[in-house]
Subunit: 323 residues, 2 copies
């Protein structure tokens, strides 16, 4: 394949600087989900760690590099999971971490960022405004700006999931990956295409936050004016060009799903797998629900990328039909 | 220490016959639980696997031995988790598995046993009647009876958790272990006392199913007439003498907790850790809640031993105060 920005040897090296608590996450068949989905389903569970998402794989790489340099401070924009992960990784290495987030971000994520002793600055707008503010802060303070999906460490960290899939999983046909900025999809996609090229890489995004999917389909950056989805972790409007270029090289498809399917997916994880997942983590199951014929009889791996939810919202989403 | 029935070298050997999907389960600090508990809390998470409990560590050992022998069939009594695990382990090795359970057992557990192609026989009584019926079936059919906590493989399998705690965890002060028949407590307790003797081993049982705790305290088998607890996984009335003998050698304490504390613990796992746990898995947190002073400032490891719940009951337990 044409070359992405990623390099498999560098990804293997990245594993060595990531705290083992984030590595070798559970990967297992979840048969209880299968009757309703009509295919074999394996879960790669990225929630059973101190920050309840995969994001620390990348922030461990970044923080490790910063700690080895003269840098003592770093700032990022985040919908919440990246910020929480950077706060965790930075705290352990004596870094000053600043996180800029939308004031509409998931409260539980913001609470955890504060609890992890990061400086949290809220902006009165969406994630794209938080990105602008973080960039301005970095310039003004002369500190490192960590940009998700643009900075290669975020992609390399996520890509270590791909190594674990390829090394551990029995043969599987398709991996379903939540698509936001693209770090997870390009990282995992790169490794899968490099080491298990027969496996199909399908990205899944909400219909209400389709910028990257539209960009992938049109092979050029397409922005949107707004987002409307409960999947806060993937709700960007302005794709990173370099991430799109990589995504075009590794993704076999990018699909959009409805909010109702995301909610059904979250409820299925709770009812049949005993797993709390945040909306972004249910995108893969939502994609299967919306196109059972496409996946019938195949063996799907879906990456359960996070579990940080506001409890009240979560009860509201999953409660009704279960009670 | 005086010798239990367990042997650390045999436990290490047991690891080699257990499907890796059940090994090296997540172990991580859960800081979000800590403000409410007043101590450092690490979780050993035994729910992120195909049977959602630790029991397959033991059934893998048993099924592996049976598959290497002439035996083609095995029967066990189970509150649900052992049966599910034996069904999983037996299916992969071509064994005929029969599970005897109370008709009052958790429906989700019974459903999974059936889904895993085991023969399920229900008795119109509690778990002790199921044990009698399983023993009768084994005699009548001339097949292997697997007895939880009595058969050493069930203890050795559980003990592999202890190896992972001792090998992986940063120093911790206390391990809190759900106490039912005793396999988990004696297995983990044996390894901890052998390899990390400074660590305190505390067993936790519901006030409504206190037989083993009373037995431990009185140093003789004490039975009870009934049980009254939502913690179905530990609700036995007739302790196994050999398990008690071992428990007396490895447990520093055995405590009883109230149902309300178990429910609060389950709710805390959901609200603060994003984890669905079954009642037995919340016993450790319940013990901290009931005696915060005892654990203040210490580093506690609690084994989250299962997540198999009936969804409606679970919503009933955790829903009220969260909404």
């Amino acid at each position: 394949m044409r070359k992405t920005r990623l390099d498999t040897a560098r990804i293997r090296a990245a594993r060595r600087v990531i705290d083992p608590v984030f590595l070798d996450s559970p990967l297992y068949r979840c048969e209880a989900l299968e009757p309703a989905l009509g295919c074999a389903v394996s879960i790669k569970l990225e929630t059973a760690n101190p920050v309840r998402s995969f994001k620390a794989r990348g922030t461990e790489v970044v923080a490790s590099l910063l700690a080895d340099s003269d840098a003592r401070a770093v700032v990022c924009a985040s919908a919440g999971n990246l910020g929480q992960a950077l706060a965790w990784s930075g705290r352990g290495r004596g870094l000053d971490v600043t996180v800029v987030a939308s004031r509409f971000a998931t409260a539980a994520k913001l609470d955890r960022i504060r609890a992890l002793e990061a400086r949290l600055e809220l902006v009165d707008g969406d994630h794209e405004l938080a990105r602008e503010r973080a960039a301005a802060l970095a310039r003004y303070e002369g500190i490192r700006l960590l940009e998700d999906s643009l900075d290669i460490e975020t992609c390399e960290g996520a890509a270590t999931i791909g190594l674990e899939l390829v090394d551990t999983a029995p043969s599987f046909d398709t991996v379903l990956i939540a698509l936001g900025g693209g770090a997870l999809a390009t990282g995992v996609g790169h490794v899968v295409k490099a080491l298990a090229p027969g496996v199909e890489v399908i990205c899944v995004q909400p219909l209400g936050a389709p910028a990257m999917t539209h960009s992938w389909r049109q092979r050029r950056v397409v922005t949107t004016d707004s987002t409307e989805t409960i999947a806060d972790g993937v709700a960007g409007r302005c794709p990173v060009p370099a991430a799109l270029t990589d995504l075009l090289l590794v993704a076999d498809d990018a699909v959009l799903v409805q909010e109702a399917s995301i909610i059904t997916g979250m409820r299925m994880f709770l009812d049949h797998a005993g797993l709390v997942v945040e909306p972004s983590a249910a995108l893969g199951v939502a994609a299967i629900l919306e196109d059972r014929d496409r996946f019938a009889g195949r063996h799907i791996v879906t990456i359960v990328c996070g579990s940080n939810v506001d409890v009240d919202a979560y009860h509201h989403w999953v409660g009704a039909a279960s009670l």
